[in-house]
């Protein structure tokens, strides 16, 4: 009987596990942190889903690691090479050189995920915090740190999803430099120095650390919508079960999980930065945000085209 290992107990991994369980397929989630929910623990409205998953999914405390180009599950003293795994490790954080942020390298520069863990352990990364981020997670973390008594400034290079932000200063711009001998003293934003003792990087990239396996959620898709992230888990569940009729898709825009669909959900995720109109066969859809879940028409071949 088929059995899958899912790497990561974020909402994508949890949703895949639950969907597989429901279909009677064995699935276990490997999580190395002592909490689940990944970067969505601050996201409003997801608590009940995460709680339900905590009780229903088979989550084991272990880690997937890569040694000499092979992927192993390490659990206590035991390690075994992983097969039939799905990667649900989520976003990685953009590196400072990728963001063009240079200067000193003092203490107090944290990737987003590390700050969530610190808060989880009752610790704070600092008191005067600049968050560099262009997404709803940056805003949510800003709120949380403000609640915990920190002074927070969010610097966003493009835009920030609307989300109630109280007592948080938001600056549109870019960070170019960090200054500080031992600890962060200031960061340079739009050519001006802002005093801060902490810089949190909340700009994300999709990344699959185990490329021999298929990825779901934010390990594969640059999306910020929890509904679509969970949907990617469900869609992949049925692709793995292979419980539908094959559909071949010809698309000139990026689609997930791929050009051949075999699951009974008959669904795909279309990503289109900034939204827009697309044609699915002859039917027009409008995509709001950066992506949408599309129910495929009942044909065995589907054409998808961006419009305009």
């Amino acid at each position: 009987m088929a059995s899958y290992s899912i790497i990561g107990a974020g909402i994508a991994g949890l949703s895949l596990a639950l969907e597989l369980e429901e279909a009677g397929i064995n699935a276990r989630i490997i999580e190395y942190r002592d909490r689940i929910g990944g970067i969505h623990i601050l996201y409003p409205g997801l608590d009940s889903f995460i709680d339900r998953a905590r009780h229903r999914a088979n989550i084991v405390s272990a880690a997937a690691i890569r040694v000499n180009g092979r992927t192993y599950e390490l659990r206590g003293k035991n390690y075994v090479e992983l097969r039939d795994a799905v990667v649900a490790t989520g976003f990685r954080v953009a590196t400072l050189p990728e963001l063009g942020v240079y200067g000193d390298r003092p203490a107090g520069i944290y990737p987003f995920h590390a700050v969530l863990d610190l808060i989880h352990y009752g610790l704070l990364p600092g008191k005067r915090i600049v968050i560099y981020g262009d997404n709803v997670y940056a805003a949510l973390l800003g709120n949380e740190l403000t609640k915990l008594g920190c002074m927070v400034t969010i610097v966003t290079p493009v835009r920030i999803d609307s989300s109630p932000i109280s007592d948080v200063i938001v600056i549109k711009g870019n960070i170019s430099r960090i200054r500080g001998m031992s600890r962060v003293e200031s960061v340079r934003v739009n050519g001006e120095w802002i005093d801060a003792d902490t810089l949190v990087i909340a700009i994300f990239k999709t990344y699959n650390p185990f490329p021999e396996f298929q990825a779901i959620g934010q390990a594969a898709l640059e999306l910020f919508d929890p509904g679509i992230i969970m949907e990617s888990g469900k869609i992949l569940a049925h692709e793995l079960i292979n419980d539908g009729e094959p559909i071949i898709i010809n698309s000139n825009i990026p689609i997930y999980p791929g050009n051949l669909i075999r699951g009974k959900t008959r669904r795909i995720i279309v990503t289109l930065r900034g939204g827009g109109k697309i044609l699915v066969n002859d039917k027009e859809y409008t995509i709001h945000g950066d992506a949408a879940v599309i129910d495929l028409p009942k044909t065995d071949k589907v054409f998808i085209r961006g419009v305009g």
């Binding site: 002592d34 390690y79 590196t95 031992s182």
Partner: protein, 468 residues
């Protein structure tokens, strides 16, 4: 007050690669040795800012620097074996990018063969086919291949030297500044932020601060500070050290290469620019210069840059190492301007210093019971070798580099007291995620050090990490 336990035969200022290698050599003799460093851990000065390359011959060829680099290079296989430090021997390829370079290859080969060949380093011309066989990612018309280089895990080297010294009775004082030092009745009196110490002889291996220590004995040296920026990429790009062949040496673009590290990452650099002692900031210009120089060697290759950092090196007047007795006393030995290739030369430098110590009239008697250091074995090494994990490694802290709680405990046992110390020994947080695990790591390191997380620092001093 006379404090017997503050008396030593030899005091070494500086626990960088140079100070440590000298202490390592001295630990083989019956002598009381003290090493003093202002930093929180060994190797936190000049030594942490380099790329880990073992060089061969260094131009200018007739210098002490070049001579010691050649000797040092040849000692490294032994050092690596004895101290269980990962060393990978490899070639350097100077790539001919254009037709002019290609036409010049035979002449350059003739010149270089005389210099390199004399010292036993093999040098050959390679054509475009051989180049693409050796380095599939590199674009070029051919090149010159020089054998005998290497890359080493310089962090492992630092901590293994340190542990060898500890095992064999060397004392260390960290976080300790030198306020003053003087000669009195053939003894050196060293007044530090941690009290007064006496030694029969002092070795000044203080790196960027060596001229200040020298001044305390009336010796005047001038050094300039050179900043070298490096860009680290995730993954291997080349098998050899690769750099463009330069016909006209241009000081602005001199040095640096594409370097495959021992950790499976790749370094571009270092660049070289004038700097000052306390400035380790990386500038956008430095990084642009690295891209201008190296990107054209690998135009097709896409890699993720994970980190940029800079080191500061002491560049001496006269552009050569200065290793000498003080003008005022033969009880003081200065090492001034030990810059690149100081890592390569270090084992040979240490032997030279031992000779100078003997010249000073200090009798050194070889010890009979030398204790050897055990290799540092991490969980990933056991998995890599297919061996059983016998002790419970605890939870995985950093999945990118496969580091467990027991690996952190192991690093602490080897002397790590700070987050950087643990990171240098284990590789924690040095993967592509650049520290997404660091929140978890701060908790575990604090627990293993048995301190409040608010007391843990990145690298000592005011580099606090968390608050409440």
């Amino acid at each position: 007050m006379h404090l017997a336990n503050h008396e030593y035969d030899i005091a070494i200022i500086g626990s960088g690669i140079i100070g440590l290698f000298i202490a390592y050599e001295l630990a083989h003799y019956n002598a009381r040795i003290l090493v003093i460093d202002k930093n929180a851990e060994p190797g936190f000065g000049v030594s942490k800012g380099h790329a880990g390359v073992i060089h061969v011959v260094q131009p200018p060829f007739n210098t002490l620097r070049s001579k010691l680099a050649i000797e040092g290079n040849k000692l490294y296989d032994d050092v690596s074996r004895k101290l269980h430090v990962k060393l990978k021997r490899m070639s350097t390829i100077l790539v001919a990018e254009g037709l002019t370079h290609l036409l010049a290859l035979p002449a350059i080969w003739l010149v270089l063969r005389r210099v390199y060949g004399k010292h036993g380093f093999k040098i050959s011309i390679i054509g475009s086919r051989e180049l693409s066989r050796l380095e599939p990612n590199v674009k070029g018309l051919g090149g010159i291949k020089i054998d005998g280089y290497g890359v080493i895990n310089s962090f492992e080297l630092v901590y293994q030297l340190y542990n060898f010294c500890l095992l064999n009775g060397v004392d260390f004082l960290f976080g300790t500044n030198i306020n003053n030092a003087r000669i009195s009745n053939d003894r050196v009196i060293i007044s530090t932020s941690g009290g007064e110490y006496e030694a029969r002889l002092l070795v000044n291996a203080a790196g960027l601060y060596s001229t200040e220590i020298a001044k305390m004995f009336g010796d005047k040296y001038r050094i300039e500070f050179g900043k070298g920026a490096m860009l680290v990429f995730w993954g291997e790009q080349t098998r050899s050290i690769v750099t463009p062949l330069q016909l006209m040496p241009n000081p602005k673009t001199k040095g640096g290469a594409i370097i495959p590290t021992i950790f499976g990452t790749t370094i571009w650099g270092p660049s070289l620019s004038a700097g000052n002692r306390d400035d380790r900031a990386v500038n956008g210009n430095d990084i642009q210069a690295l891209f201008d120089k190296f990107k054209r060697l690998m135009p097709e290759y896409e890699a993720i840059p994970i980190k940029a950092y800079a080191g500061v090196r002491p560049i001496p007047e006269g552009d050569d190492f200065i290793i000498t007795h003080s003008n005022s006393s033969n009880r003081v030995i200065h090492l001034i301007g030990i810059e690149s290739p100081g890592l390569t030369a270090a084992p040979a430098i240490a032997r030279k210093v031992i000779d100078l110590i003997k010249d000073s009239g200090i009798a050194l008697q070889a010890k009979s019971d030398i204790k050897e250091v055990e290799p540092i074995v991490f969980t990933r090494d056991l998995i890599s070798d297919g061996k059983d994990i016998t002790d419970d490694p605890g939870e995985v802290v950093c999945p990118c580099m496969a580091i467990t709680r027991s690996d952190i405990r192991n690093a602490i046992k080897r002397g790590a007291r700070t987050l950087d110390g643990v990171a240098f020994i284990t590789g924690l947080g040095m993967g592509i995620c650049q520290g997404m695990c660091i929140g978890n790591a701060i908790k575990v390191i604090s627990e293993e050090l048995n301190i409040d997380p608010e007391k843990l620092t990145k690298s000592g001093g005011d580099s606090w990490l968390v608050t409440r």
